[in-house]
């Protein structure tokens, strides 16, 4: 395969950066979720319950 270094760099950087950002988002969300009561987390309420 030609240009393997460029291919690995391009795909590696892109997927790596997206994965790191996704992990950071999940951790940030987990930390914040613990500090906020469920009423403020509308996406976790079952349909039919009132919003916050």
């Amino acid at each position: 395969m030609t240009h393997l270094g460029y291919l690995l760099s391009g795909w590696g950087i892109a997927l790596g950066v997206l994965a790191i950002y996704a992990l950071r988002l999940v951790r940030r969300g987990r930390r914040l979720s613990a500090r906020v009561p469920p009423a403020h987390r509308r996406w976790m309420q079952s349909p039919g319950t009132s919003g916050d």
Partner: protein, 270 residues
């Protein structure tokens, strides 16, 4: 263990986003197989000399770079639409959506610049070409939205930054048509090729893999947007909750001491 359960750990995930995440992960794996194994390198034969030419395996960066570029446009367009929504409705939902779209869009735009540069080195023989209209308008788009994010960070509270940020987003998004059309309008000022998809100069498995890339990275970006929105929403809620709790505590103190407990109530409550 039910990995789709929402209450097992407190997160910004929901059943829907978990399914979306799984689909995105599976999609990325499938895309890697198509991009690296099933598709052929770009090799063509010169009609008169019979010599081989093309991008060879460097073309496999196409399945990454082009979807990222399309999703940058989509994320920034969403940011602009949500900013307009905020200016009309003035509700946090629009503002948090705009902020989430700007952040995710800027991340993806950075990846467009980086992957484009990595692709450009073997194919164009340069990492970067100053003065190239496609590259410069894309860099400008990235910097404008970086400014948007910096403006939001510099603000004391999200409310005060919402309106100027919305205006910045609506101005910055005007650069998108320039980025997109630059290869047509200033053909002799850019190394960048014209749109392959618009002219449909792509076919078979190469076309399928490119479309698959757009769908898969579309799922990834949607997942990121949903989670970033929820993080933004929680940040707002944390502030509101903190204020509510402080008021409740104050009211508790007041009721034990006989002070009028309506003092300090929010407008909705009174």
């Amino acid at each position: 263990m039910d990995i789709l359960a929402t209450e097992s750990r407190i997160t910004t995930g929901s059943r829907g986003t978990r399914l979306l995440g799984l689909a995105a992960l599976a999609g990325v794996l499938a895309l890697l197989v198509f991009a690296f194994v099933l598709t052929d390198p770009d090799v063509r034969t010169h009609p008169t000399s019979g010599e081989e030419f093309g991008q060879f395996d460097a073309v496999r960066l196409l399945y990454l770079h082009v979807p990222m570029a399309i999703l940058t446009y989509a994320a920034y367009a969403l940011c602009a639409a949500a900013s307009a929504g905020y200016l009309l409705r003035r509700t946090p939902w629009w503002d948090v959506t705009a902020h989430a779209a700007a952040e995710v869009g800027t991340l993806v735009c950075a990846l467009v610049l980086v992957t484009g540069s990595i692709w450009g080195r073997p194919v164009w023989n340069t990492w970067w070409e100053w003065g190239d209209v496609r590259l410069m308008t894309t860099l400008l788009l990235f910097l404008l939205f970086l400014g948007y994010l910096a403006l939001r960070r510099a603000a004391v509270d999200p409310e005060s930054a919402a309106r100027p940020a919305a205006v910045v987003a609506l101005v910055a998004v005007l650069d998108i048509p320039l980025v997109n059309r630059s290869v047509e309008w200033w053909e002799n000022r850019t190394l960048h090729q014209k749109s392959t998809l618009a002219e449909l100069k792509i076919e078979d498995l190469t076309l399928f893999t490119l479309v698959l890339g757009i769908v898969v990275f579309g799922l990834v970006v949607t997942w990121l947007l949903l989670h970033r929105f929820r993080v933004g929403w929680l940040e707002r809620a944390e502030v509101t909750h903190g204020i509510d709790r402080a008021i409740a505590e104050r009211r508790g103190v007041a009721s034990t001491t006989g002070v009028d407990s309506t003092v300090g109530q929010t407008r909705e409550e009174s």
